[in-house]
Symmetry: C2
Subunit: 357 residues, 2 copies
DNA sequence: TCTGGCACTCCACAGGGCAGAGTGCCAGAA
DNA sequence: TTCTGGCACTCTGCCCTGTGGAGTGCCAGA
């Protein structure tokens, strides 16, 4: 199962950072993050004490702010402006100050209902990505269930012309891959049937990465005359298995990028460019921890164009193991608790749907 | 073959519009469009005579401009600003003043080379859409070859469990569709083989829309006990054919939207939203004429969010007939001749690639 | 029918002044 | 020792104003 977020928001024993970071100072940071995420404007000491009952005066808060700034958690665009959280500030917030916000019961029902309507794998992924984009009002990314962890449900061979076959691979996640096979000579129906039966007999139910090992010696069992055909087919099959590790990804919610910020012409462009690169997205999701929800903030993301964004991602799977990942990309100034809640919930329900089908 | 653009740029016999629209006035309009597309700024009379040798003075041009404005071809953001073409102005430009700009020989080679590297249909489409986005520096859209015009290459039935089949449909364009079939009772291998053979015998080579007609009476030829299974399979097959008319579309180059204009936060959002709706894109391409290149400008586009864009689209196909469409979406202020040239060229080459494979 | 000249309009931009929000620091209270 | 209220200061954002320039429309003359 995906993860369980952070245990608790309030904290008693802050790991020493630079200075002891007492509780109130952390409360101030939390308040700053919350306000800034809400208003998109630098937040000052006075506004802060008005909106949160911190029990102290603005002056005190100012002292805390100065300390937080010195430690690099917040930052001042210019003298006499309010404060803005830095990447490091968000990091602390996510790690120690925020609780994952669970979805409400009606929300859960809606999610489940929406996903249940899907008719096939494509539809599941398409619905998931749209749903996630809508829930978080950000850009959503969903990876197709990976072949690596799937198992063979069926392998089919179809002769198109005497020397041309089509190889179709069906996995337990409902994914179908097809490839043409040019055989060295004509292939009879008998051989085809025999080969089909043996392929399925030996590889059926196997995890895809194990298939080459399992079928290694298959050709040896055939009449010498047929061996070149058999090994041609095997070669193509193995290629398919290998190639398809480059996986597909689906994207939605790019229109939400327009809510990015005021200055966004410059911000949005590299993000859009990054989003068009499957490779970048795959790497992004690939860096997600297998078991837990991963949050990467601003410059923690390797890709340069995404330095002003954060990524919340998590694995999902049909059983107890994750077969693929999904996530959300938004401005560093995002509602982390809410986003994490939505991501976690969606991942769980997709997992369930996949397990049922 | 797609189309051949407009016969000639210069024109002799302008269809009467409101007033006779003499040649010089049209030259002025052409110049305005060209300059505005280049600079993105309203163009004035003085700059116009400096950059194009129109052979007359600014004052004269001003008179022509006044006339063009009265006829609705150009428009003035405010007094004492230069002129901007209106949708109607672009329309006239495209219809009568512009020639499609052919690609240069190296460009053609590059296109062909790039597309030839594709390994399967998905890859062809993916490469095409990226190429088109890059060539035009705009948003590119490519529709997958439609099932409607394709023919059946093979139909495969695979038994997964005693009562569960998988139906796989392979078309001549290389597309593969699969569906699960829940049968009313167990299905023997003999029946399966018989059914498979008859399906392929009767429907093989047929255009997809004709398949239901061709197979209408198939069930009657079977043992009464098997008829319900056969008709279940047929139902699913027909559903697949019908459903798959909702076609897939691929998109690229959204980052180019950032070059839209200065004010674009407001402009870009509805466009991004529209681009995420498959339905909208399908309708957009659907309105493309079958035989010729279609250009729709600004408010000529039904979808409201796209009222400040233009769409250049054309059909492409593996033979003499178009099986799908592709196009480009950009600001009304786009380089029409260049865009049209690129669209036409890419469509031709994809057609060729598809025909060869 | 075209041209040169002229008066006029309006935007874009820079500069100055002002209000407001926010800060840092300090001395005094708890 | 820690918090608080007060105070002087800084800086942005906004409004207002004035100016330069680009562009126009119109008219009289070639």
């Amino acid at each position: 199962m995906p993860d369980d977020g952070k245990p608790d928001g309030r904290l008693i024993d802050p790991r020493p950072s630079v200075r002891p970071l007492d509780e109130r100072r952390l409360a101030v940071l939390r308040a700053i993050v919350q306000d800034y995420v809400g208003t998109e404007e630098p937040v000052g000491s006075k506004a802060l004490v008005e909106r949160h009952n911190l029990g102290v005066s603005p002056a005190t808060v100012r002292n805390d702010m100065a300390a937080l700034e010195e430690d690099g958690f917040i930052h001042q665009p210019h003298t006499s402006a309010g404060r803005i959280p830095t990447d490091k500030g968000y990091r602390l917030f996510v790690d120690r100050l925020a609780e994952v916000k669970p979805m409400t019961a009606p929300e859960r029902r809606a999610i489940r209902h929406f996903l249940e309507g899907a008719v096939d794998l494509d539809d599941v992924v398409a619905r998931t990505v749209r749903l996630l984009a809508q829930l978080t009002r950000q850009v959503a990314v969903v990876q197709y269930p990976s072949l690596t962890r799937s198992t063979v449900r069926h392998i089919e061979l179809v002769s198109l012309t005497p020397t041309k076959l089509m190889l179709v691979l069906i996995t337990n996640t409902g994914r179908v891959e097809q490839r043409m096979v040019d055989c060295p000579g004509p292939v009879g129906e008998a051989l085809l049937g025999d080969l089909r039966a043996r392929l399925n007999g030996m590889a059926g139910g196997c995890r895809l990465p194990e298939v080459p090992t399992v079928l290694e010696d298959l050709a040896a069992g055939f009449d010498p005359a047929d061996r070149s055909t058999v090994s041609t087919v095997l070669t193509v099959l193995f290629e398919t298995l290998a190639e398809q590790n480059e996986e597909r990804i689906m994207l939605a919610g790019t229109a939400n990028l327009t809510r990015f910020g005021h200055d966004f012409p410059l911000t949005i462009r590299p993000v859009l460019e990054a989003l068009e690169e499957q490779v970048v997205l795959l790497r992004l999701l690939g860096e997600t921890a297998d078991s837990a929800m991963t949050v990467r903030i601003g410059h923690e993301i390797a890709h340069e164009g995404l330095n002003s964004t954060s990524v919340v991602s998590v694995g999902y799977g049909s059983g107890d193991q994750s077969v693929a990942k999904l996530g959300v990309i938004g401005p560093t100034r995002m509602d982390y608790p809410g986003t994490m809640g939505a991501v976690r919930a969606v991942a769980r329900y997709v997992g369930q749907i996949l397990a049922e089908s």
